[in-house]
């Protein structure tokens, strides 16, 4: 008979989750299970809906990364109605998108994953949260965080209606053009954003690099997996959130494949297990070898660290410099240390701020022509973008009137599910020794998945998986 | 299935169809007892919410009877009934409610025989359709 320890619910992440840990008689980890009790059936209930309504419907998959779904959906509609948005529309979309990335990544650092390190791993659980952060770094910092977040949300509201759920996405563009005074206002904001991004990286410095305990943890083998990495890159193989080719590098950092979203079915595959609501994504032509890492296993990871690993740097100067610093500090590409996700995330925050600043300086941004009206329905459309937590793909099939017949969604966290599961498993084995499962110990297991900033509301399917004993 | 007796809610306008039902009564013409009448001043008063509510309350069929075109006591209330009926019927199909369960007819006060036929036909058709299982998937 096995002793069961449960962490229910797992906390400081987006969505529901529960970890079951079974110990054998010696108090060693026998098996661990992460389960997500969620299933919302979007793939089904979107059938019968009107295509043009999809950006506003599918974004409700996730209230934390709605803009990602809204954007992937809008792009799928561009494809479905075979209409190219005007330049200004693309820029408005990208601006909105980076504002969202900026704000969402910061949320994770200050509210969700960061507190473990900012407040300290040994801090009492009551303190391991944003309110603890307030007491550690001071209320002024938190007020600043709140203020910056408010500004970023305000920017989104200005562009897309709601600070949370954008509604401006349409096939062939956006519903509202930006005015010159909007642009000037945005330009003011982006200055603050860049400053705050750099400020946050300083906090990261103090918390991770200057703090030996945390740094050792980051580079320790407990949170380490040699996997493939996948992410969108622009024509120069630089990280891009809004558009580009999907690039995959191997555990050795070399490019192994590069493809357009339309071909996703040739490269990516999902599997279902009897005990699992979860569909596990893996690289189709490498194949499924179980929950193991290494070159032979099709398991890949996505999200901030993966994007940096899968690219050749950032498209903006400050972010690129920080990118260089990270890889030199952690021993070159690719970096396999899961906790480095925190660092990569903040580099993306800086990139997002810089990119917003570029766009805000672009005269085309305020061109009133923000829509092209489609005259055709191709009956199939695919859209992709980089959600904060990884690559996101929407695939629609409609009838000739544009009524949805079939919907398929590959959601960021699904890509990482295998990785997350391995991380929990590995951490559990390393940390739980002869039955010692103090609260602190269990949290050490939770930080394994928090690094990924998983969005289990997005991965709208239960995942409950078994790791075979090795 | 023949033991099944469908319940029909009929919305009758005060001026033509309700009058007609009364005259059928005075003439003592027999018609199926499945009909349950709601009197409204005008078929234009019939709110689609009432129809949906009636289905919710286990009516198997619903009938809206109004004055003939051009004879509405309130000029054009019967056209409102027609417009709502057409949209509602189409939407109810999406909810799995067959078209045959919602009907609209123009009946003048003098068309007693037509009234009897309409009712009898609907009862006959509803027996074929059977009950609406609104509570089939509660859990």
């Amino acid at each position: 008979m096995h002793k069961r320890i449960t962490i229910d619910p797992i906390t400081r992440l987006e969505g529901h989750g529960k970890i079951n840990i079974f110990l054998d008689d010696n108090g060693e980890v026998y098996r661990t299970y992460l389960s997500v009790p969620e299933f919302k059936a979007f793939e089904k209930f979107c059938e019968g809906r009107l295509a043009e309504e999809m950006p506003a419907i599918t974004q409700k998959i996730c209230g934390v990364c709605p803009t990602a779904h809204h954007t992937a959906s809008s792009k799928a509609l561009d494809d479905l109605f075979s209409v190219e948005p005007p330049g200004a529309a693309k820029k408005v979309r990208e601006l909105m998108y980076n504002a969202f990335m900026f704000e969402d990544h910061l949320l994770h650092f200050y509210f969700l994953g960061g507190p473990d390190f900012i407040v300290g791993l040994d801090a009492p659980k009551e303190k391991r949260n944003v309110f603890g952060v307030k007491d550690t770094v001071g209320v002024e910092v938190v007020k600043k965080v709140i203020d910056i977040r408010k500004k970023a949300r305000g920017l989104n509201a200005m562009i897309s209606g709601s600070p949370l759920y954008p509604v401006c996405g349409l096939p062939g563009g956006v519903s509202r053009a930006l005015t010159e005074e909007d642009r000037i206002h945005i330009k003011d904001l982006t200055k603050d954003f860049i400053t705050f991004a750099e400020f946050t990286l300083k906090i990261f410095d103090d918390v991770f690099l200057k703090n030996k305990e945390n740094f050792d943890l980051m580079v320790s083998d407990i949170y380490y997996h040699r996997t493939y990495y996948l992410g969108l890159v622009d024509e120069n193989n630089k990280v891009n959130f809004y558009d580009g080719q999907i690039r995959v590098v191997g555990p050795d950092g070399k490019e192994v494949m590069k493809f357009g979203s339309k071909d996703y079915l040739q490269y990516l595959q999902e599997r279902v297990e009897p005990w699992s609501y979860m569909k596990t994504l893996y690289l189709k032509n490498i194949g499924w070898k179980g929950f193991v890492d290494g070159k032979e296993s099709g398991i890949y990871r996505v999200g901030p660290l993966a994007r940096l690993n899968a690219s050749e740097g950032m498209a903006t100067p400050l972010a690129h410099a920080e990118h260089e610093r990270m890889f030199s500090t952690l021993g070159g590409k690719p970096v396999h240390n899961t906790l480095a996700y925190h660092w990569a995330r903040l580099i993306e925050v800086l990139y997002a701020a810089e990119r917003m600043d570029e766009l805000a300086s672009d005269p085309e941004l305020t061109n009133p022509q923000v829509r092209n009206i489609p005259d055709d329905i191709r009956k199939e459309g695919i859209g992709v973008c980089e959600a904060p937590r990884g690559t996101l793909l929407h695939h629609y099939v409609t009838d000739k009137k544009g009524v949805l017949k079939k919907v398929n969604l590959l959601v960021a966290t699904q890509n990482n599910a295998a990785g997350i599961s391995m991380s929990i498993e590995k951490a559990a084995r390393a940390i739980i020794k002869n039955g010692n499962v103090s609260e602190g110990v269990l949290n050490m297991i939770e930080i394994a998945f928090r690094a990924y900033d998983p969005c289990l509301a997005c991965a709208t399917h239960i995942l409950s998986r078994n790791i075979a004993c090795s | 299935m023949n033991s099944f007796e469908p319940k029909i809610i009929a919305f009758l306008c005060n001026w033509c169809s309700y009058e007609c039902a009364d005259s059928v009564g005075r003439a003592q013409k027999e018609y199926p007892s499945n009909l349950r009448v709601v009197r409204v001043m005008c078929s234009g008063r019939v709110d689609p919410q009432f129809v949906i509510k009636a289905f919710k309350e286990d009516a198997e069929g619903i009938m809206i009877l109004g004055c003939h075109a051009g004879e509405c006591h309130y000029k054009e209330g019967n056209y409102q009934a027609l417009r709502r009926y057409i949209l509602l019927k189409k939407m109810l199909a999406q909810f799995g409610i067959e078209g045959g369960r919602l009907r609209l007819h123009w009946v003048s006060a003098s068309e007693g025989d037509k009234f009897v036929t309409i009712v009898s036909e609907m009862v006959r058709d509803l027996k074929k359709l059977g009950p609406l299982l609104l509570r089939d998937m509660e859990r």
Binding site: R31, K40, L50, E52, E53, W275, K279 | L88, K90, M91
Partner: protein, 324 residues
């Protein structure tokens, strides 16, 4: 005296309602000055068994968002009802069922099959579906059960107040929380939003003529509309007239029509049915065939008119009839 305790929980939810709390910005600090947040999975490390250990009625107010679809949701809703003096349905999913409620147009099995067997990216030769109970080697793994229907919160527990919106307007959230902290007595079922429909505050209302009639319905992708003019006056579906105000006209400001996330106004029995009635009434034709033609131009009425409220609507779901 002891500081009041506040709890926040999510059922079948997207996290947007959590964000609506974070969007209180500095007001969050105002709340935590006078109250303790004791349970909030997204931000705090409190676990279920700790909630279980709380005394009945120990929590002053619990905001529950999300609709009810899994066993776990129902269980937690009931648990929190026991532990809380006031329960507030937070957001459209808890209030009227929300967008996931559109799944009520399909059967449970159809939903599972689509996701696990039919999508083109999945490889599932044995046609495996997730099980509530499954055995793996020597251990039993339980999975929270997946219900037949999506339900609003008040179908499974008694609810005191409601905050509409997808997402709710932070002002409404703040007002709700403060009203509890200040022990304001409100009528049961109080809704924290406007009483009138959206049109009352819509910047485009005055552009709507007294006689707006519709010959056809235009869809979003088909044309570029006047960004100042009432959508209904431009032959477009806008649920504003049948939808409670209070959202801050977010969609309208972004030049998009209302989709009804704030739910119906007080006296409406069925939001979709009521809107259909209004829309039908302004169709500009007396000819059966022409009206039918216009009706045919309105695709997916169910999905448009019940976008957020299907589970709390009269019919709640697709009806099964013997003939179907």
């Amino acid at each position: 005296m002891e500081r009041p305790k506040i709890a926040l929980y999510w059922c079948s939810s997207c996290g947007g309602c959590e964000e609506s709390v974070l969007d209180l910005s500095e007001n969050i600090l105002k709340i935590t000055e006078s109250a303790d947040i004791v349970f909030w999975p997204v931000a705090l490390d409190t676990k279920y068994e700790e909630v279980n250990r709380m005394k009945d009625g120990e929590i002053a107010a619990c905001l529950i968002n999300g609709s009810i679809r899994m066993d776990e949701h129902e269980y937690m809703a009931q648990l929190l009802r026991k532990k809380s003096r006031i329960v507030i349905a937070h957001g459209s999913c808890a209030y009227i069922g929300g967008i996931y409620g559109l799944a009520n147009f399909y059967k449970r099995e159809e939903c599972l099959n689509r996701a696990y067997k039919e999508v083109p990216s999945v490889k599932n030769p044995e046609g495996i579906l997730p099980q509530a109970q499954s055995r793996d080697g020597e251990v039993e793994i339980e999975l929270s059960g997946f219900h037949d229907l999506v339900k609003p919160l008040n179908h499974v527990i008694e609810v005191d107040y409601y905050i509409p919106g997808c997402p709710p307007n932070p002002e409404n959230v703040f007002e709700a929380i403060m009203s509890v902290l200040q022990n304001r007595t409100l009528p049961k079922g109080n809704v924290f939003a406007d009483q009138k429909a959206l049109c009352a505050t819509c910047s485009r209302r005055d552009t709507k003529p007294e006689k707006a009639v519709i010959k056809e319905i235009k869809r979003l992708h088909e044309w570029q509309w006047d960004p100042e003019k009432c959508f209904l006056a431009q032959d477009m579906i806008c649920l504003g007239p049948a939808t409670r105000g209070g959202c801050g006209e977010r969609c309208i400001k972004a030049n998009m029509p209302c989709r009804g996330c704030y739910g119906p106004t007080e006296n409406i029995i069925d939001q979709g049915g009521k809107f259909l009635s209004a829309l039908a009434s302004i169709i500009d034709s007396k000819d059966k065939r022409e009206i039918e033609k216009i009706a045919d131009s309105i695709l997916d009425m169910g999905g448009l008119f019940y976008r957020y409220c299907l589970p709390s609507s009269l019919l709640e779901k697709k009806v099964k009839s013997l003939s179907s």
